[in-house]
Symmetry: C2
Subunit: 107 residues, 2 copies
């Protein structure tokens, strides 16, 4: 399976989520997988790319059709629980950036 997101021609939106995990698994992996699965079911979801290094620093970029799609996903009840647990348990620190993809190139 390719780890690249198959996105359409721009414009579309990218949510860049960079995070540093805390020590300990604390059921993080099943949640992370579930969130990608659930995001993929949302209207306006275009794809996601995700990597975490052995030092616990990770980058996940998810792609969306519109601001509305991002906003709906942010408000999703199961996702909100994950967001709260992320703040209190899983992430030592994180940054979230919402950006508009204007141009895209591939190899």
């Amino acid at each position: 399976m390719s780890l690249f997101a198959k996105t359409p021609e721009p414009p579309y939106y990218a949510v860049i989520f960079t995070s540093q995990r805390t020590e300990g698994e604390n059921s993080y992996e099943p949640m992370a997988e579930r969130m990608i699965e659930l995001a993929a079911e949302q209207p306006g979801f275009l794809g996601a790319e995700s990597v975490r290094g052995s030092d616990g620093f990770g980058i996940t970029v998810s792609y969306w059709k519109s601001h509305e799609a991002i906003s709906s996903w942010k408000q999703h009840s199961e996702h909100r629980i994950a967001q709260e647990t992320g703040k209190t348990l899983w992430y030592q620190d994180y940054q979230l950036r919402i950006s508009k993809v204007e141009r895209a190139y591939s190899k």
Copy 2:
């Protein structure tokens, strides 16, 4: 050292580079480190975040003040050599997306 980029208030630009490495080191690491070092010296560079997983899939996001800054970096002679070697030797595949960061949040 924090792996997070310390970016200013939006708007600014994010270059999202996702890539799949080929097999073999082929002097990739010294080049990758040199490119981050060199990028950091360019006008309009705001920071970068980078992770590669053990499967060879990686995400690097670099942040820039303007389209002009991104364009100048793209044309930099040493960077152009790295781009060419990336195409022919280091990367099996890659995607490059240029986006405008509109909003940012942190923990």
